[in-house]
Amino acid sequence: MLPSAARQTELLYFVRQDCGSCHGLRLEGGLGVPLTAAALKGKPAESLRDTILYGRSGTTMPPWNPFLTEAEAGWIVQMLQKGLP
């Protein structure tokens, strides 16, 4: 199920601002790797979604499942792979 329009706006803001603290406001990378469409091209959406939900141990990428549902994380991956508006 797609997040509601209001929640979508919230999520886009969240990704830019709060993911941006590691991945850069423009998602071109920082302490975290770049999350631009080019950087994520060809990567399996499901595993990216799981990275967002459960994090990657041994790295600074934290699990976001306290804040995001599976559907929301999936939608974020879709948006990232298309290129964030």
Binding site: R16, Q17, D18, G20, S21, C22, G24, L25, R26, E28, G29, G30, L31, G55, T60, P62, P63, P66, F67
Partner: protein, 392 residues
């Protein structure tokens, strides 16, 4: 004869006044900069009247931006995430010079003598050193380890002796670049200092450089007065066996509060502020706080320490009374408190509240909110007295 002189004198006076209107004659010791993160702009603010004096645009990606000041407190050097280094004139309120110095930068520092500014970079890594006057490149220090692999550079500060100190995230090293060396630059490297140093600070006296480690418990300590002794591990094994919480925002060490003989530091992945005794570098206490601390900053008199937090507790600020190590105030400024900066002698503190698009000013004695100033997604707040503080 005298009467006839008055008119030209008046004209001279008026034209002087005209000049003053275009370039105000004022000191800069009560000025500062507020970073407006999303719009790539900065506000120039005054702390005496708590006012916005102007806005300067065109500074690029300012997420995670930091600011250093020239020793005359007139110029701000703004380091942006996009690798931009911008020199801003606070009096004329304009960009003097802007260079894109690398792909992806994280922080900056200015040398003791004020002649050099240094920028530390994530991509492609390394530290670049510029002439503070012209922003011409003076030195380029790639951060390749022995194996030739490049590291992100974090925790860049200045140290007495015209030195810069910084840490290599992937390699786990601390390097000291000496700008007073006869050759112009000499780099001393300390290897195997610990896993994933993510930020560092230097004590206000310029003696102790401490790097926080993300990949393991503990801190790496370099005594700048006795570099031959090498880097030591302190607080080793702190919290072993305890569950570390996920970290949603890396703590910053820049504002680590050194309060005389104790250091208050954010615990990574824990709802605690650690108290470290500086005589033996052992943990002497832990203060439970509202969330994972991000900034832990001492009021200039060191009597209070103010703390902000990572998600989901980032709407809160807590005040620790240092002598009793207790929380004496909990404030809720609003969503996404990103930074706190004290006025030069600490009677007030400015707090940026990103999602509310404002900066709030509090009295640190009564905790009353004195003023709200509009700002577009404000993040860092930097006041000019930093110009005269080692490590800032």
């Amino acid at each position: 004869m005298r009467r006839y002189l008055i008119l030209p004198l008046l004209i001279a006076l008026f034209s002087l006044a005209g000049c003053a209107a275009t370039l105000p004659q004022r000191g800069t010791g009560d000025l500062g900069v507020v970073i407006e993160r999303a719009t790539g702009s900065i506000q120039v603010v005054g702390t005496t009247n708590r006012t916005r004096l102007g806005q300067i645009t065109g500074l690029g990606d300012l997420s995670h931006a930091s600011v250093n000041y020239s020793r005359d407190e007139r110029y701000a050097y703004v380091f942006g995430r996009d690798g931009g280094l911008t020199k801003v004139d606070l009096l004329e309120m304009r960009i003097v010079k802007r260079v894109i110095q690398s792909g992806n930068s994280i922080g900056g520092a200015i040398s003791q003598d004020g002649r050099f500014v240094a920028a530390s970079n994530y991509t492609p890594g390394g530290v670049r050193i510029f002439n503070a006057e012209t922003l011409d490149l003076v030195a380029d220090i790639p951060s390749a380890d022995r194996a030739g692999k490049s590291s992100k550079v974090v925790g860049l500060v200045d140290a007495p002796g015209n030195r810069f100190v910084f840490s290599l995230f992937e390699a786990g090293e601390i390097w000291v670049a000496d700008m007073s060396a006869p050759s112009g630059l000499a780099v001393t490297k300390f290897e195997h200092i610990g896993k994933d140093p993510y930020d560092a600070m230097i004590t206000a006296d310029g003696r102790y450089y401490l790097a926080g480690l993300f990949g393991e418990d503990g801190l790496a300590l370099l005594d700048m007065w006795n570099m031959e002794a090498g880097v030591k591990r302190v607080l080793n094994g702190y919290g072993k066996g305890e569950q570390q919480l996920p970290v949603y925002k890396m703590p910053h060490l820049e504002g680590w509060a050194a309060t005389g003989n104790e250091l208050l530091v954010p615990a990574v992945g824990r709802h605690e502020v650690l108290v470290i005794g500086m005589n033996n570098w052992k943990e002497v206490g832990r203060i439970p706080v509202h969330g994972q601390p991000v900034f832990v900053v001492a009021r200039p008199d060191n009597r209070q320490v103010w703390v902000n937090f990572a998600l989901p507790h980032n709407d809160t600020v807590q005040v620790i009374d240092v002598p009793s190590r207790t929380i004496i105030k909990t404030l809720k400024p609003g969503k996404a408190v990103l930074h706190m900066e004290f006025t030069p002698r600490g009677e007030q503190v400015w707090i940026s509240v990103r999602d509310e698009d404002r900066v709030e000013v509090y009295d640190t004695g009564t905790f009353a909110k004195i003023k709200e100033l509009p700002a577009s997604k404000p993040s860092g707040i930097f006041f000019t007295p930093r110009a005269h503080r080692t490590g800032l």
